[in-house]
């Protein structure tokens, strides 16, 4: 990866969890669950146009690295820094990996 691609990819990884952490909860607090619909469109949809639509996150290999990796890591770090229990959270990470393996395998069955 060249330096410009590295800088672009780091920026893409920064922007997504930053927007989610600062805006999603506030939208739901103010608007209720419909705030989650607005967040899905205007945080996730809009950030997708940047990170994957025009490709700010550069793909170095053939295995897709989604901006979801950034949301997972950035939000987990932010939560840990705000004092939430990392050990208990890791149990949920294990479930996420198991769910991801299951989902990835089912999609393998779709596309193979």
């Amino acid at each position: 990866m060249t330096l410009p691609k590295i800088i672009a990819t780091i920026a893409g990884g920064f922007i997504f969890p930053f927007l989610i952490r600062l805006c999603w909860g506030a939208l739901v607090d103010k608007l209720g669950p419909i705030g989650g619909w607005i967040a899905a469109g205007f945080i996730v949809g809009t950030t997708w146009t940047l990170n994957h639509g025009v490709g700010l996150i550069y793909q170095s290999g053939a295995a897709w690295i989604d901006m979801a990796w950034a949301a997972f890591i950035g939000l987990f770090v932010a939560s840990a820094l705000s004092g939430d229990d990392v050990g208990k959270g890791l149990g949920t990470v294990v479930n996420a990996i198991l769910g991801g393996l299951l989902g990835g395998f089912i999609l393998y069955c779709l596309y193979v």
Partner: protein
Amino acid sequence: MKNIGSIIGFAIAGIFVMSVWGAFAEAYGIFGGWFAGLAIISIMWFMNHFLELVANEGAFVDMAAGIAVTGTMRDVFLNGAQAGIDSLPTLAFVAIGAVIAGVTAVAIEKMWAERDAAVSKGEDVSM
């Protein structure tokens, strides 16, 4: 049941995002991709986080974790381990950006909390 529900929630979110999203983008271009975010993430967030199908004690694990692993593993299953190894640089730089974002966002929340505390203190004085 908590763990099974969580695994199902992560898997379903991953399956939708890593199949239907791309189909929307292929059919309708960048607007298809934007709309896929609205159509998929809205209801997946409602089920997984608002209704809490994903049981999450301790530090917050977004359903994005399941989506991320699904997307990467889909291609590792399809293209082999080398595909995953070739993608590690992107994953590493995305992770660096994400960690900086988490640290920065918490610092900004702290600044906002201090700002709001100062404002409410000001109101108390005026009362």
